[in-house]
């Protein structure tokens, strides 16, 4: 399942994302939570400690680049995904893995 939770800032989407992540993890699913919000709060909402979050490295924008093939533009990873998760993911309550993206990536827009 690949789920995106969207909403305006303050709408409560982060609480819902985090709670959903842990609920699904408790049902036996392997959950990766990705914080793509310009103001990242998903880690705290998941119940991770400040210390653990402080040690977390954000996934840099450079991890992806836009590949253009004629009219098609796609985002491609510049490194294997296993490497990315190994380096940038941290495990929290109920085994939820968290990755936090760096700022807004305009390279992928359009």
């Amino acid at each position: 399942m690949k789920i995106a939770v969207a909403g305006k800032g303050g709408s409560g989407k982060t609480t819902i994302s985090a709670t959903l992540a842990r609920v699904l993890a408790r049902r036996g699913l392997r959950v990766t939570a990705i914080d793509g919000d310009p103001n990242p709060n998903l880690g705290v909402a998941l119940g991770m400690s400040q210390q653990r979050l402080g040690n977390l490295t954000r996934v840099p924008k450079e991890i992806m680049e836009v590949k253009e093939e004629g009219e098609r533009r796609t985002l491609v990873l510049t490194r294997p995904v296993e490497e990315i998760t190994a380096e940038y993911a941290t495990t929290g309550p109920d085994g939820v893995n968290l990755m936090v993206m760096t700022g807004v990536d305009h390279a992928g827009a359009g």
Binding site: A6, I16, T19, L29, V44, G47, D105
Partner: protein, 155 residues
């Protein structure tokens, strides 16, 4: 970011879930960025300005090929609030995937920097999220398989 979402989906499917928390932003949604998203939950409060976000994002998400788009009503304090959301969504052809009521516990957990689930495991909001999880498990069975979700990925 969404390319990463797609790549995470390779390999063993069915039991893997990725949940991406993202601001609702039309500028950053395109065929390239959402091609691997199978379901989008758009969280809205019972106010017109918030609902307008759903009204803008939902059609775009559908047009970009996201199979399942649901609005989630949040911070609902009354039957009237709930009705406002259902009414707007019905008028715009958007399904409501969940209703989460206003809950002081959410604020309190937030103030203490704790997860709602840890702060108050039996909170009504938690029950609502369990129902959303039920919906997802029900509606998204069979979208496992690397890229073979039956959608005929055209991006």
């Amino acid at each position: 970011m969404r390319g990463l979402l797609g790549e995470l989906a390779t390999g063993k499917q069915g039991e893997e879930v990725t949940i991406t928390d993202m601001e609702a932003s039309i500028e950053h949604m395109s065929r390239a960025t959402v091609r691997h998203v199978e379901a989008m939950l758009i969280v809205t409060e019972p106010y017109f300005r918030s609902l307008e976000t759903v009204g803008r994002i939902a059609p775009l998400a559908q047009e970009l090929g996201i199979e399942h788009v649901w609005a989630v009503a949040n911070k609902v304090r009354s039957a009237r609030d709930e009705e406002i959301i259902h009414s707007y969504c019905a008028d715009h052809g958007i399904e409501v995937g969940g209703v989460v009521q206003w809950d002081e516990a959410i604020q309190e957990a937030d103030r203490e920097g704790r997860a709602l689930l840890d702060y108050e495991p039996a909170a009504p909001a938690v029950v609502s999220v369990e129902r959303i999880a039920d919906l997802l498990e029900r509606e998204m069975v069979g979208t496992g398989g690397n890229g073979s979700s039956g959608r005929g990925d055209q991006s």
